[in-house]
Amino acid sequence: MRLSNVSFRYMRRGPWVLREVELDLRPGEVVEIVGRNGAGKSTLLKLLAGALRPTRGSVVDRPPVVGYAPDAFPTGQPFTVAAYLAAVARIRGVAGPGPWPERLGMTELLDLPLGDLSKGSAHKVGLAQALLASPGLLILDEPFAGLDAQTRAELPVIAGEIAAAGGIVVVSDHQGGLRDLASRRRLSVVDHRLADAPPEAEEARPRLSVVEILVDSAEAPELTAELRARGYDAHLRPAPPPDAPAEADSPTPPDAPTAADATAPATTEVHR
């Protein structure tokens, strides 16, 4: 499959979302596409899937069977999971949902209405419908978002199987879910153009700090739980005795949240 000089914009005089994209995709290849939000990754995936036509340039030799899993599966549809997958199977000309409900850990969801699904469960339905017909081109837009650990572990295996069977797998991923798939090729959408992504080791990693908050022991569990609920990696430990030597080179940055009144020996350590 080849994209030649592909440019795209949604309206005649609108801004270019992608410019002069050149891309060769070979059978058996797993491609990971990275880039900041709004860079054009999802548009590129829709062009690859054939849902959008390039404003300029061409896409040739697309495999006939394409599986596309969107970043957010549309649950506002009047079907149960089983009825939905059966309908997609009929459209794709296959007998039924195959092994995917079991492999994606969603057999217990089959009788539920789509509208009752959680985000992660809906995401599984989106993945299952994309996999129904052994796709020659599998396109996954943020496939790891909201998935449980079992399915997160299974998805790279499935991608590897599709590739081993000669399929092309293209994944847009912010979460590094394919990190363990050594053979993948990484591309980056930057400034509306496609380029080879820098090796992961060279990518900017988030800077981490540790904030120690000294609080009354009675308040410490509640504060720790509250910080955890806000997404922080918070740990509770007893404070050192008042006469113990202070730690040198505190990692607390100047603009970090400061400690509450230090009236009793309990410390909450917060990582982010």
């Binding site: 849902a51 309908a87 997609v88 459209i91 989106g126």
Partner: protein, 226 residues
Amino acid sequence: MTATMALVRFKLAAYARSHRLLQPLFALVCMLAIFYGAPTSPGGEPSAYADAAGLLVIVFAWAARSLLDTEPPTQRLISMTSAGGPGREVAAGLAAALMVDAALAAIAVAVPLAHGFVETPSAAVIAQGAALHGLAVLVGIGLGALSSAQIIPSPAASMFALLGGFVGLLLLSITPAGPLLVPIVGWMRAAGDGALGAMLPALALPTVLWSCLAVLLYVRLRRTRP
């Protein structure tokens, strides 16, 4: 079953299960109750059919528009890849709209035969009535498709386009250029003059042409509005 026909079935199922069908169906029942509430005397059937067909264009357009709007945008992307291309998704949507409108038109033709016409008209008159309702379906699909959410995302603007488009069609059809446009009022006049059988081909030709142009424009616009 081909991918396109399976997709048509999926769209029809979604349309029926979402209860969107009830809105145009309710409007159809109300309009038929008004049209045929009083008995139609023998000889008045062609005129009654023509008036009903002309005014039911808005119901057929509404039904087509609401069917095309049933699938969420992301599901349309999934449907495109599942069916094997955007063209099949667009074709399936139009085919499903045609089926729904054809069923509504069949009801509109059959109801006065059971209640409304004092005497059952001849087969020729029934065929003329069916033909006029068929033309109304084509006009309704064109108008409904061009006012659907894929083409006009704003619900208010879409509704304005639907209603304004219908009123515009009616008004234009009474102008001197009316016979060359969609001659809805021409249907009514021809039926009232007893000349519907002779004039039907001349009335059908511009109607079919303009309806096909509207559908082709919709298909063209959908290339950049998946």
